[in-house]
Structures are given as C-alpha cells and as structure tokens.
C-alpha cells in the first residue's frame, strides 16, 4: 500500500498529492464510512429500542435483520417523489441538502487519529484548521437554514409552524452549547481540534474530568443541548407523531424525506464526535499516559488504526445513550423546552465558563 502512494507522490508532484489527491481520497473514504454509519445507526436504533422494550427489533431481512437499512434505502428510493403544487420548487429541493451538507462538512476537521509524525503513516484527519472549534459551531448553525426553508417551501401552514418551532429550538440551544464548548477551549488554550486532543494527552486527563465539577457540567450541558439540537427525544416535540402534524418534513416523500432523516442522524453523529473529541480525549485510549496499560494501545493494528478504533468505540457509546434517552423519557412541551434552554441551561453554562476561567487564573 505505501508503495502505491509513494509512486503516486513521485509522479504527480508533492503539491497535487498533498493538496488534492490525499484529501480527496480521505473525503471519499470518510463519506462512505459516515453514510454507512448513519444507515446502521437507524438500524441500531430500531434494534436497541426494541430490546429496551422487551421485544426484538427487525429481524427478518438478513441474519438478525442486518440488511434492514438496505431494504429501507431501496424502499425510499422507489417511492413517488411528490412536490406540492404551489411549493417553491427550488427551495423545496435544496432544503434537505442544506440539512445534511453542513453536518457532514464538520467531519473534515475532526481528528480520528494522530498526525503523520506520530502515526508514522499519514494524517488521520482531513485538515487541521487552527480555528476548528469555531468552524464546528458555524457549520452547526448553518444546518438550521435547511429546516426553516423546508418548512416554508412546503406551502403548508402547519409545516411552516413546525419548521419555525424546530428552528427556534435549535437556535436557542446553540447558546448553551456554544458556552459549553468554551470550557475545553479554556482548558486547552487553542481552538484547533487536534490541539485540544493533544492538550488532553499532555495534561494527562480527559477534559470531562478537568477542573471538577466544571468539566463535567460543561460536558453534560453540551450533550443535552446536543440532544435538543438534533430534535431528539426528550426534545422532539416538533416532529412528534402524536402532536399536530409531522413538523417541517410533512410534505416530503421518498428520498427527500430520507435526506432529512439522514440529516438528523448525521447531526447526532457529529455532535457525538465533537463531544468525544473535546471532552473524552478524542482518539486516545483511556489512561493514555499510563505506560502500564499500553496493551490497550492495540498495537497489533497497523498505523494509527487503533486510535480510530478507540474513537469509534467512544462514538458508539454516545449513540447508544441517544437511543437510550429516546426509549426512556417522555417529551417536553415546547414552551417548557424553551424555558429549560433559556432559564436553566444558559445560566448553568455561564457558571461553567466563569468557574473554569476562575480556576485557570488561580492555577496560573
């Protein structure tokens, strides 16, 4: 494998190789992996929800129902694509893409493993932007556009209301999320995501345990705000079936609906990935500084593969918690939801930020 890469490197020249071919390859592989993960998250959700509810989930398609996402994709692809008569056509078409696109773009700055020097092979991230954290927050905000446009373009007043409610919920929970993200920034001293991961290694502990209890508080606020951001239970009133309508995606059918659906799961995965990177030590194994546990390094895997495995394991834990929440809690009413966001989460996140800053000043 490295032989092919060095041959390409020599033939194409360093510039093209490092700026075009390598990122393109990584993007392609990452997209395939992420889309598969999204599809199988839907399957895992149905299976795990079933297990939480003492029933088996889907188990007919393939052994233990493993091919169910393929069947779902096939079904959604062949469904009739209905666009309402008086809907604004181009906005209707673009809205789902605006939901999925920004969520996937965030993956370009998340480090899945060490950089080239440490791993000895290549950079285990697509790019290392030195304002990576700001980029993440910005892209998450762009995702709200798709929802508003989807609700408005449907020419249906209930979709519009559902879309507006959804968007209001997402915007109000971005404030505590942003504040909670400032806490690892303060602890690490850099906005770059790779820098934050390295800082957790240097400081010898994950940021979730740092500056107790502010790290834990920030982690908790970030995760709960993340659940609200992706419109999941217990904050999923805008898309609940037993409420007025199905929210902003009522008029969408077939693959467009599938894109909205994918966008929600992509959001889930992105929020989990960012939480893992910022609070749980990214791709490091637990107790990365302790030499005695170096067997956890999974050295038998080539290159920096073990770091990718650890990253994925932590990510899967978060996804399980998302599904667990869905299976357990009732739903908040919309005004109670907004109450919670503005009256409780923002003061709590402010406390976390000021507490961390205070501790940092005192320690310096």
């Amino acid at each position: 494998m490295p032989g092919v890469l060095t041959a390409l490197h020599d033939s194409l020249g360093a510039t093209i190789f490092y700026f075009v071919l390598s990122p393109a390859l990584k993007i392609a592989i990452l997209l395939i992996l992420v889309l598969t993960l999204i599809a199988y998250t839907t399957f895992a959700e149905r299976k795990i929800l079933g297990f939480l509810q003492v029933r088996t989930g889907p188990n007919r398609v393939g052994p233990w129902g493993v091919l169910q996402p393929l069947a779902d994709v096939a079904k959604l692809l062949v469904k009739q694509d209905i666009i309402p008569d008086r809907a604004v056509r181009w906005v209707f078409v673009i809205a789902p893409c605006l939901v999925v696109g920004p969520a996937l773009v965030i993956f370009s700055v998340i480090p899945f493993g060490p950089s080239a020097e440490l791993s000895g092979a290549f950079n285990w991230f697509i790019t290392d932007v030195n304002v990576g954290l700001l980029f993440v927050v910005a892209m998450a905000t762009v995702g709200v556009y798709g929802i508003i446009l989807g609700g408005w373009a449907s020419n249906n007043k209930f979709s519009l209301l559902g879309g507006l409610r959804s968007a209001a919920q997402m915007i109000s929970y971005e404030v505590p999320q942003g504040f909670a993200l400032v806490v690892p920034l303060l602890m690490a001293g850099t906005l770059s995501l790779t820098g934050i991961v390295d800082a957790q290694f240097d400081q010898g502990r994950w940021f979730v345990f740092g500056f107790f209890p502010f790290g834990l508080l920030a982690f908790f606020i970030y995760f709960v705000a993340g659940v609200a951001e992706s419109n999941r239970n217990p904050f999923d009133l805008p898309e609940a079936e037993s409420e007025l309508v199905a929210g902003f995606h009522t008029e969408y059918s077939g693959m467009r609906f599938a894109l909205f659906f994918l966008g929600e799961y992509a959001n889930m995965i992105v929020i989990s990935a960012v939480a893992v990177t910022l609070f749980l030590g990214g791709w490091h194994r637990p107790f990365a500084n302790v030499e005695a546990l170096s067997f956890l390094d999974l050295g038998f895997l080539p290159g920096g593969m073990s770091s990718f495995v650890w990253f994925t394991l932590k990510l899967l834990c978060f996804l399980f918690v998302y599904i667990w929440f869905r299976g357990t809690f009732p739903r908040y009413r919309f005004d109670q939801l907004m109450d919670l966001g503005w009256k409780w989460m923002i003061p709590a996140s402010l406390i976390a930020v000021s507490g961390t800053a205070l501790v940092k000043i005192l320690l310096a």
């Binding site: 795990i48 079933g50 297990f51 939480l52 509810q53 003492v54 029933r55 088996t56 188990n59 667990w324 929440f325 299976g327 357990t328 809690f329």
Partner: protein, 156 residues
Amino acid sequence: MKRFLDKIMLLDLFAGLGITFKHLWKRKVTIQYPEERMEPAHRFRGMFRLDEDRCIKCTLCARDCPIDIIYIDWHQEVNPETEKKEKLLDRFDIDVQRCMFCGLCEEACPTKPKSIWLTTKTYELASYERWENLYVDMEELEGWRVRPEYTDEEVA
C-alpha cells in the same frame, strides 16, 4: 436538602434510565409468527364446525344467535331403511361476515357431544379469494379442518 440534591443531580431521570437498562437483558416476549404460534386455550372460541350426524335439527342455535346469521332448512322424510320419519338437513349456512364468535349457538345446542362447536382453535380465517370463507355452507362447515394437527376428539 435531599430534595435539592435530587433536583440538581437528576436522580429521578437516572432511575428511569436504570429501569430501561435492566430490560435490555431480559428475555424478549416476541413470538416469531408464523414460525411460532401462540397456542389457544382449550375453550378458545374460534371458527366453528358442524357435525351433521349429531345434529337433531332443533334450530335452537339459529334462534339463539344474537345476529341471526344461521340459516337452517330441514324437511321430514321417511327413511326407506328404518321406515321412520326423520328430519333431513337441507341447508345449514352461516354468514361468517357477521359472526362475532360469541358461542351462544354452541351453548344452545342440546346434543351431547355438541353438534356445533367453536373450538376448532382456528383464528386464521383470511383467504385469498373474496368468495371463500365469507358465507359458509353445510359442506364446508363439516369439512372445516384448517388446523390439521388437532384431531376431532381433541377439538370437540
């Protein structure tokens, strides 16, 4: 103080999470139909069967039906073998579209063992054609055997 800590630490939410987590490991209650089926009880009121030999054509079942869906016609004839008058059944039709499987016809039947009984333990009455199984006449009633694993003795 404890209630304050309860509120802050969200203990009630974690208790709920714990309960659902425990259920992850419990045995699932799903029955994989159609490979496994639930066995109906002995008294289960399913589709009925008629046994014409036992029937004495008293029409009590037709009279007792709450929805009047049993249609019985009989006439008297002299049996050439025994030289006695006896009743012969012309028509014994049941309109299954309306039947609610209440069992009153079975209760009304005075013969022992009963001539019409509902314990064939059949509840899968779906059919592929529109004219099947909606209006069941005498021959079909007698020959109803959808659950071949049960013998007549078990079923009656």
